[in-house]
Symmetry: C2
Subunit: 139 residues, 2 copies
Amino acid sequence: MDQHRDYESELREAGVRLTKPRKIILKILGESQDHPDAMAIFRRAVKIDASISLATVYRTMKLLEGLGAVHRHSFEGGPARFEHADGEHHDHLIDLDTGRVIEFHSETLERLQEQIADELGYDIEHHRLELYGRKRRQR
Amino acid sequence: MDQHRDYESELREAGVRLTKPRKIILKILGESQDHPDAMAIFRRAVKIDASISLATVYRTMKLLEGLGAVHRHSFEGGPARFEHADGEHHDHLIDLDTGRVIEFHSETLERLQEQIADELGYDIEHHRLELYGRKRRQR
DNA sequence: AATGAAAATGCAAATCGTTTGCAACAAGTG
DNA sequence: CACTTGTTGCAAACGATTTGCATTTTCATT
């Protein structure tokens, strides 16, 4: 789909102001390939503008989440981590040794979930699938 | 498998003392068909013994989790919820309107997950699959 | 049944991640 | 450039959970 959404325009259209902290956070999210938590975003932001506060990071993440611009993930034992909502839907495999997050997608799996919910008489609003594992040593 | 594990014996074998609070909590867990959180367990426990403290509930849940006697689930937005580890593995469908938790199991789904992890070069330690949905109105 | 060492408890204070009230401030309109 | 309103930074509040510590319990031993 849209590989490079123009979040700044989207925000403006949504009627929210394009402030300095927001621009900086948006930039950071765009450049992040990992899944940073609020504190990590805050630390990166402070390097660009020392006056940014952690509260604003949290407020901005909530705003962006509401606008569908970022996804919030609450992996086991740890603060929420974020990723910008570019790209397509995927699930996550968390490396228990490094904390690294690997994204994957399986259409079969998606359909299977829907089928299961359907059999239980439910419509899925959203779902959460996380695999926690360790790199297989050797081949 | 084991439909009625004798947790009291297991605890003793594990070298932990069978105290009054622990017996009460174990009893509550055994009788709970829902997935109570620490506060709910605490409230039920207080009815049996008014001197129990919330801290002990938390400590006991951590202990039981470590012994594999209970599973801890951190569903979206809310405190951790627990269930005793009887029965077989299953995943959860959370009713967004009522908060009710419905358990389900799919061997196909389990195998699919393993296959995906395998392709990524990982061994799954455990996983978390939660479907969030609403009851389909009508047939 | 009485003894004692070790473990477990209750309480309150501390912690972590996150949210909020409020006065000062900045964005976008005209 | 001024005004209106949204947004910020700060610090205090928050909910869930954990912890330090003095006091109680458990349970193996007498």
